[in-house]
Symmetry: C2
Subunit: 442 residues, 2 copies
Amino acid sequence: MTELNATHDPDRQSWLESANEPDCDFPIQNLPHGVFCWPGEAPRGGVAIGDAILDMATAVEAGLFAGIPAEAARAAAEPSLNRLMAMGNGAASALRARISDILRADHPDAARFAAMAQRILVPMEDVEMRLPAGIGAFTDFFTSSYHTERGRRARGEEPALPPNFQYLPIAYNSRASSVRVSGEAVRRPNGQRQRADGTVAFGPCEGQDFELELGIFVGPGNMLGEPIPLRAAPEHIWGFCLVNDWSARDIQRWESTPLGPFLSKSLSTSISPWVVTAEALAPFRAPALVRPAGDPAPLPHLAHDQDQRLGGFDIDLEAWLLTPDMAASEEEPARITRTNFRHMYWTLGQMLTHHASNGCNLQPGDLIASGTASGPTDESRACMAEMTRGRDPITLPNGETRIWLQDGDEVILRGRAHRRGHVGIGFGECRGRIDPALAWPA
Amino acid sequence: MTELNATHDPDRQSWLESANEPDCDFPIQNLPHGVFCWPGEAPRGGVAIGDAILDMATAVEAGLFAGIPAEAARAAAEPSLNRLMAMGNGAASALRARISDILRADHPDAARFAAMAQRILVPMEDVEMRLPAGIGAFTDFFTSSYHTERGRRARGEEPALPPNFQYLPIAYNSRASSVRVSGEAVRRPNGQRQRADGTVAFGPCEGQDFELELGIFVGPGNMLGEPIPLRAAPEHIWGFCLVNDWSARDIQRWESTPLGPFLSKSLSTSISPWVVTAEALAPFRAPALVRPAGDPAPLPHLAHDQDQRLGGFDIDLEAWLLTPDMAASEEEPARITRTNFRHMYWTLGQMLTHHASNGCNLQPGDLIASGTASGPTDESRACMAEMTRGRDPITLPNGETRIWLQDGDEVILRGRAHRRGHVGIGFGECRGRIDPALAWPA
């Protein structure tokens, strides 16, 4: 388990004032990695600090890194972070320590570093974000018992949890090619559905939903045929992001039996651009969920032992909705979900170990999402299907109602970890707006 | 639809004698692309001819290509064929025409080309094959009604076909990272299963199976959000290979509800190394399967019109089994499956159009497999689950029996297209042997 160190010191501040404001997502204790570009130019790696980005290539050129941090800094400057992820958490940690030193207010050379701000810092608002890594595989889990139970009850399925739910973290392979970064519009898909009268039709999705999830990027990974025991799983969890697993519910319901969701998911998946490292989240670890009495214990290969019992993470997750009417009248988005990652039945380590337990090779930059992160309360329902069951609309502050997402609706995901005695850190936003379906080509 | 041309001429022969032998998989009418390497050296692109490989890099250096074929030839020399696939079937066709000229016996310059054989040809037996492309995504379909019906009947599921089977080609995203080339051993996976008494256990797979499938490599592909109408699908079907979709049936049965197969498939998928181009298969096109009376017609976007009615392919597919006992006594492998790709309920074009119908972006080098290619007869059952239903063993010529694959068993897939008036072409072999499971790490 990652130990806390000077980079987590709650008293540490940056010479960049915007990083020290309360509720800033990117204080010096965070330092997430991402890939940005000036409009029309090539992507480059950077680290978020306050309202700015540390341009890693410029910082490397300025001679700010030496030794192991220099090797990692060069990887962090590349147009995709796969090589940095492949170097593992040790390299990321060495790099973090040096970046924290460069940016902190009380470093002996702070005045010199601050004088370089114009050269090495980029205003976040001036640039566009890109996918942080080339994503070779995208796996989506299904590990909130609350999400699972609500969905099955709404469809009249018994028992409330599938028989395997408590024995293994259920997952499916989703589509990596259609994962995209926050801010890109999401085209409403065409697809097949079965109508109430039994006939089957093809046309624009009539049940467009979002799903609020947490995702991880895989670090070094494993060779084909060689599993990852649970105690080694943390070495392969490189960083975290928010995931909106857009879901076309009418298409999903018709296509998913017997081989699972396919086109209902591959229309697009949006992720937040900043990858929060495992080390930055170390202060926010939490015990794994306590299983309800009577549930089976995990099989030995999935059982957290005493040293690993902090398998969970205490991360607040929110979804907000901005409709075209709200945007036109300059209203704020409305919060429609407030949940916490603590509610997941399985830990990320258990998900990773299960994933590789047959020898399946995980690779640097693979994206693994948790599944809809719903909790026990109504407020914590993390997708429209749970809120409306496809028939009972939610009412927004301006009086509008929604059963599913309409064209022009924008969903904004936010995530934040905070705990007494620590500086809270944020994930930034994951935004996506629904564009109207295309007419089928004549 | 690809027209036949001089490269298909059944009278055309090569100055390389091995290519002219009857039943040769790689006559001059075939010319499949692949990637090979000398032991310990870097991979390089080549084209199979008889018992040799045309080393594309050497052929390019020798000045044998000019114009569009030269551009394609350079892509065909690379260590992965993604760029060649991205160039589309037009470029592949121009390259094929030139390679056929270089290798044919009756070309005016044949003597000059033949004199270069030592330089540009590599003996197939001296080199190792590699994956032909970087596979960004692997999608597995489920489009044989015979396979589907036998499986559901064996499990007591009703109706014999899922309700959506006749409306859409059912598919799931499978795992791309564990796709490997013929000849690499396949490690028996560990995994979870539910025993007959209801308890759940983790350990070596007790139901290791194979699945005989045909696969295609995607050519140019589509942009996210923009579908591929059926009439355009052939432009994106670049080439064909054999696929062994290794399946762990006990793991599959326990994990697959509700989100489909996951670890039961990602242990490994083996493919044949040579990619037979769509143009090479043009003489073996066949009408799409005639749907049984009473089946619904495809919805308009999946309906082959008059010009596209030859959506099927007439390709013989076989699976052979070689047990350790048979190998020790130098027996030949035993053929356990003989089927034909004509039996599939959906065409490859329909699969591709369905896959992109929601806007999902297909990319050069994506692998799309047909699903187990079983036909109506007992001989055409294309996996062990259909043959044995998990309880009735098959008996091999030497008296051995099998319900599932045992450690050391090697499965060999073969494919061949032939038709009166044309020279038959083959796919080469797709081989894989089962290695014992690893003990779980202590």
